[in-house]
Structures are given as structure tokens and as C-alpha cells.
Amino acid sequence: GAGVSQSPSNKVTEKGKDVELRCDPISGHTALYWYRQSLGQGLEFLIYFQGNSAPDKSGLPSDRFSAERTGGSVSTLTIQRTQQEDSAVYLCASSPGTWSFPREKLFFGSGTQLSVL
């Protein structure tokens, strides 16, 4: 597809279980981001991948959260031992990552609605 694809669109899990969220960015985009939106809140930055550089993990809320990006394309966000406060919409975005492109014009996926019971 032409856009950013995220799966699953909805995930319901029990407290304490691990979950994996997947993001397939736009082909050719070197930059990939994960954000989350909790109820009534703005989008919160989680992690940023740019090419082969070390990711910027400064937004990850705890060590239960991790993400990887394989082959410079698909990314997986993993949340271990989920808690109820992890319930949110997790959004992935990508961008071309080139200097000439308008900065910060991110292309978002539709998100994964995570519900931790």
C-alpha cells in the first residue's frame, strides 16, 4: 500500500501479558517514529529511528517498552508485562528523512488501539 500500515488495529490484552505492535512504513522513508495518544491527551513521542543511526529512545516511558526496526523498514513496538496505564492508541509515522523535505511532515498510520484489562 501507499501509506503507513499498522497492525493490529485493535488489541485487547490482560494485565501482565506482553504485546507486539507492528508498523510498516512508506517504502523509501528512512525515518520512523512511534507516538502514543492516551485518552484526553496529546500525542506523546516514544522513539525515533533514522536510517542506520542509533534510535532516539528518550520518550519510552519505562524499560517495559522496546522497539526495533529490522532492515531499515518494518518496526515492532513491544510492551512487556502490560499495565492498565499502557492503554492508548499507538501511532506509527514515517518521513523521507531528507533535509530538503519539509521538516516534520510525518505520515501517520491509523494506529493500534491497545486496551489492557
Partner: protein, 117 residues
């Protein structure tokens, strides 16, 4: 610490009139500002942006104004249309000391705009 604030959770406007959405920020290191629009069950989409070297940027019905001294920006939509009904997010970014974090955006909480026919 909310560095980007949208103090109006919602705004209701009549079709054809002007919609004005406001945003305040606190971090003086921000040098690029954006507005994103989000429909239900979809990811945010880029709408318009402005660099801190400008005080106005216009794109069709959408104009963004930046007042750096007041650390305030606003989005004007003229004329408003029912299809503009969505959540509007203000976002900001800045070059971190020692590197860049393009795409690492700080978002406001969003304003729900409803345009009535």
C-alpha cells in the same frame, strides 16, 4: 510539563465563518511549528507549518500565525466547511543541542472543531 498547550478542548463554528484555533508553547528552543488534523479512526495528517523566521504562512483556506514574543500561534480557517470538522493538533519541534531530532514533535492536547452546516 506541558510544553505545547491547546487550552480550548473544543470549538463550534457555523459553516462559512472563520475558525480560529489557538496554541501556546513554553520552550523557547522550538523553531518550527505545525498543525495536524485528525479524523476519527485515522492517523493525523499534516495540514500546514511555519518556521520561526516567519510570522505568517498561508495555504488556501488555512493560515497559521506565529507570535514569537508571546509564544503563541493560531490557525485560521476561512471559510469553514463541515468537512473541516476534526481534531486539530498543534505541534512544535527544535534542534536539540548536539544533534537534530527532526520529526520528534511535541504535541498539544488537541482541539475538536465542529463546523455546523
Amino acid at each position: 510539563d506541558q510544553q505545547v498547550k491547546q487550552n480550548s478542548p473544543s470549538l463550534s463554528v457555523q459553516e462559512g465563518r472563520i475558525s480560529i484555533l489557538n496554541c501556546d508553547y513554553t520552550n523557547s528552543m522550538f523553531d518550527y511549528f505545525l498543525w495536524y488534523k485528525k479524523y476519527p479512526a485515522e492517523g493525523p495528517t499534516f495540514l500546514i507549518s511555519i518556521s520561526s523566521i516567519k510570522d505568517k504562512n498561508e495555504d488556501g483556506r488555512f493560515t497559521v500565525f506565529l507570535n514569537k514574543s508571546a509564544k503563541h500561534l493560531s490557525l485560521h480557517i476561512v471559510p469553514s466547511q463541515p468537512g473541516d470538522s476534526a481534531v486539530y493538533f498543534c505541534a512544535a519541534s527544535g534542534i536539540n543541542a548536539g544533534g537534530t531530532s527532526y520529526g520528534k514533535l511535541t504535541f498539544g492536547q488537541g482541539t475538536i472543531l465542529t463546523v455546523h452546516p
